[in-house]
Point group: C2
Chain length 190, copies 2
DNA sequence: GACCCTGATGTCAGCGACTGCCATCAGTAC
DNA sequence: GTACTGATGGCAGTCGCTGACATCAGGGTC
């Protein structure tokens, strides 16, 4: 006989998303999530550092994809490397995941606390990208700027991809947004 | 006889920054801040929505400067308008404020929770700028991109301005960073 | 002067997030 | 069989934060 059912972590994540969607983030207690997953509050906090984190697990994998894109990119032009990183990260969001991403994003968009956490994650991503670029010999300030721009492109692109009616795969959307950034910044000032 | 000394809000802010710098954000309780300011915990929460917010009051004024820059900018090129907004916002950070900004930033950089809040504020700024640009007829996606880029430039520039040994005024640093962004994105890919 | 109203504060009770400490007990190794 | 490990539960306690109610100086009204 097994003492505990396996997959506690996954059960907690599923229970949390379901509850948050139904009653809101603030309207859901950790004890409630744990009970839904057949566990206790104490166990929840052994799997996730805090209540918000339950929605952001797996982010490490996402960051690793980004960095892999940077490592493997050819050439030394910062924005070209960033473009490669963006390309690599799209593997984390296949089309099958779009509906799930939408649901998760709805929950996040409804709570400032969750938005904070999301921003922190993206900021960490930018920092990691900056380091990766610098390791490839890019000038420090240029690296920071390129990384921040890359994350900005991702944000705008991801929001578009999530948007109603949008059907293009993420990679295609990101390429379009990046092209738009180039146009925007290149256009002579009025 | 006065029942309460005036300037409770300012006293709380000063006490908080002093304590945070001395014992860290987590190592300081709200009750302690309030006591230092000669008040109670309950009163603290009447002035600030939460413990973090005590370091971010006055942000509205900052945002207003940004928006004013957008309203008053000439021409219709998005990045030119953003440049004007950046220019306008520098009024919020005269050179006399550099030392204070450094101290405050040290506290923020030492605590992830405070970084989250800072990011949320900057994100709100980007959203406000996006709206401002759209109101001026800029294409929605271009507006979002231009605003995000503008905030990225501000972030990088502000960090530089705060940096050790840096002596140029913020406006000058921001102009340099913006120029660098243009170069970066314009450079042909390798 | 008596009256009332307002506004900033204090007091208190209570919830929920989070942590430290110790107990439990199936499975595994030896 | 004994010892060890690892995921969990139980419990007490701190702290952030909120709602409800009380207090009391100052200002206005009559």
């Amino acid at each position: 006989m097994v003492r505990w059912k396996p997959g506690a972590r996954e059960r907690l994540q599923a229970a949390a998303l379901e509850r948050f969607a139904a009653q809101g983030f603030d309207g859901t207690t950790v004890a409630e999530i744990a009970a839904t997953a057949g566990l206790t509050e104490r166990t929840f906090f052994r799997h996730f550092a805090d209540k918000r984190e339950v929605l952001f697990a797996g982010q490490d994998e996402f960051e690793r994809l980004f960095l892999a894109g940077i490592e493997e990119a050819a050439g030394s032009d910062p924005m070209a490397i960033v473009a490669a990183a963006l390309e690599g990260a799209t593997a984390f969001f296949p089309d099958e995941r779009r509906a799930w991403s939408r649901a998760r994003q709805r929950v996040i968009d409804a709570d400032p606390g969750l938005q904070e956490r999301e921003l922190l994650k993206l900021s960490g991503l930018a920092t990691a990208m900056t380091d990766g670029l610098r390791r490839r010999g890019v000038d420090p300030t240029a690296a920071a700027l390129a990384a921040e721009s890359g994350v900005a492109v991702f944000r705008v692109g991801f929001a578009t991809w999530i948007g109603e009616g949008e059907e293009r795969p993420l990679a295609e959307v990101l390429r379009a947004v990046l092209a738009e950034l180039r146009t925007l910044v290149t256009t002579p000032q009025a």
